[in-house]
Subunit: 395 residues, 2 copies
């Protein structure tokens, strides 16, 4: 039986795009995985998480295993609020929604704000899963280029003015990763942040700030957009995935009560009381500031290793960013089709993500690729970059 | 700032309904909670779940704490498949999707199959959270009455014929809880199950079978609709919430590959690798059949306690169902507004769910109420029913 007649138009349209996860390479055994945006195995506090589960269940028995969770579920929310406050984001309880990772946060925002009539603006390149998520709701996506200082707000302004003249609708929201951008590693500078907030006000759109990597700064700490948001136009999306463990799926949305309320409306009980109570307990028993300091140091030295390896092994016509935080280095390999390069590279046991996956218009990313310095151990990273450098020289 | 202008039409429509969870009474301290569809505290295997976490992390370290989970995540899927096979539901790997509880399963099905143009048929009464979920996607809901033998398929047929004559669209799907129905406790008889499958074929609609309570039979085991589904029209939704622990949020969809594929498309990584790996490990170390037998015995005797208390304390004009499984007894208190009764009852420290919450048209449920025998310990149940009986006599 063919089920196509049961799908609504929007679903048919979504199914016409690349399937979710199409960017994940099929890696051979023992592949050096430079494609993975995972935290390093050695930096995932699995012993502490195990201890937190034991403490939690010994104390609360079956309570965190029911639908509504337990006191420790509430602890998590308080811990997130106080951490946000450290970074200048002061929100009331009703302005914070804990979600099942930032994936759910983005999905809830999309469900709340998008339908096929809605326009979304995104950076080019951008986080491919956000692109996939929004494409489940609308095909009207505009992309705005970035450079080494982040989103090109002047291009955004021109584009918005043009839309206004043409009487086209404004974006419902702009999605941005202002700090330690995925995949490019760049950080939006303070002037552009300021200008972006002005544009949001002038052209009446919202901003979705994806701050997944915001804590992982290697030098200066950027100030989140949400920390300077007088008109409450910013929905700040954060996550413990990059600083604790992605598999616990703890994320959040911090923003205006009315928007958070609507997101909670569609979320219902699609969250995870046991994981929330476990992470609440975990955060009670560790020093988060100290833990984040350790991560910053560890990822900074991994970045240094990767960048040094690039300098050593890449031909000089290959260019890359040097990120001040996060997980990624973005490589420009002019006139090389990085999808074809990946095929060869996988045969040599090295993976990366071809640039095309990060663009609404894939051809724009044809000769780019994303390398992650978070997941593989330093010596394997160097080995991977050496092999990749050799392949690129042969092209 | 008012954000209403940012919401699409469908969201505005959804926000016009009752908020999710509006049916949860605000209970005083030490309330006898006969409203809660939770498993009994004493029947949630929290020690075994703690052991499973320890075994899992000792064996796999950080693996289950990453995005993609671990070998044990796959174990869970195999365990669910083999349990379904015991019940006559034989599905391939690609025909089973593990979800974050049956709540996510229903939400994914709704996202995949519904938009504002879609019609959904539901039983009256029905599970309020399913009603809320579908109302987030469409306002075109049809309700079909049930009696002591389940869904009145003759009424459904008349209704479908009438729609056909009037050239109105058929439902995209019918949502049913055929076994140990929530809230009514009734089970659809085999003749009606057979007829329902015939109607689905004749009028070309799908069936969403919510089997949350299907394992908890006290005498005969009903055969799931999905076990006799030659045309692959049934999406079978199940869950470990009622047989293990709701807070682990493990549910599933079993059905045609094309439909499961579409549900997975919109799900992306909105699931919970750590919880899945934990439950995979748990199921490897226990005897599920034996565990379910224990639950059946325990809930059967709790049902007996509740029914005996009703016989003892209710006036004879109050009527109720005697369920052969599940968690609930459905009470008819003719000409008594059970919402007003609840207010009084809460002052006496006893809660239940007023019938109106289970109906698309709330007035149909005005003099019904749902009692749960799953959560409270037997002596407290009896005390609660005694108090409730006294209140009803005073009305």
């Amino acid at each position: 039986m063919n089920y196509n007649r049961f799908f609504p138009t929007s679903m048919k349209a979504a199914l016409a795009n690349d399937p979710p996860g199409a960017w994940v390479p099929k890696t051979p055994a023992d592949c050096i995985c430079l494609h993975r945006g995972y935290p390093a195995s050695s930096l995932v506090p699995y012993v502490e998480i195990k201890c937190a589960v034991n403490t939690l269940i010994d104390k609360e028995h079956d309570l965190p295993l029911h639908y509504l969770g337990s006191a420790q579920t509430g602890v998590l929310k308080e811990k997130i609020r106080s951490r946000l406050a450290v970074r200048g984001i002061v929100v009331k309880d009703a302005e914070l929604l804990v979600t099942s990772g930032s994936s759910q946060a983005l999905d809830l925002i999309a469900r709340t704000l998008l339908d096929q009539t809605a326009v979304v603006a995104m950076e080019a390149p951008t986080y491919m899963e956000a692109l996939e998520t929004f494409q489940n709701y609308t095909n009207q996506i505009i992309s705005v280029p970035i450079d080494e200082h982040g989103l090109k707000v002047d291009v955004l302004e021109t584009l918005l003015l043009k839309r206004k003249q043409d009487r086209l609708p404004m974006p419902r929201f702009l999605y941005t990763i202002p700090s330690f951008h995925n995949p490019s590693g760049v950080t939006m500078n303070p002037e552009r942040r300021h200008r972006l907030l002005q544009l949001a006000s002038a052209f009446d759109f919202l901003i979705v700030e994806d701050d997944a990597y915001g804590e992982l700064s290697f030098s200066e700490k950027p100030i989140p957009l949400k920390a300077t948001d007088p008109e409450q136009r910013v929905l700040h999306v954060g996550s413990l995935s990059k600083v604790v463990a992605p598999g616990m799926r703890i994320g959040w949305i911090a923003g205006a009560h009315e928007l958070v309320f609507a997101c909670n409306w569609v979320k219902k009980d699609l969250d995870h009381p046991f994981a929330q109570a476990t992470m609440g307990t975990y955060l009670q028993h560790i020093n988060l500031e100290q833990h984040i300091m350790q991560l910053r140091n560890a990822y900074r030295s991994r970045r240094d290793v990767l960048v040094a390896a690039l300098e050593q092994f890449m031909p000089e016509w290959v260019k890359w960013t040097i990120p001040d935080g996060g997980y990624f280095v973005w490589l420009h390999v002019p006139n090389v089709d990085t999808s074809l390069l990946l095929e060869k590279s996988l045969r040599e046991g090295v993976s990366f993500v071809p640039g095309k996956h990060f663009f609404l218009h894939p051809s724009e990313g044809k000769d780019y690729l994303r390398l992650s310095f978070s997941y593989e151990e330093p010596e394997r990273m160097v080995e991977g970059i050496q092999k990749l450098g050799e392949l690129i020289r042969l092209v």
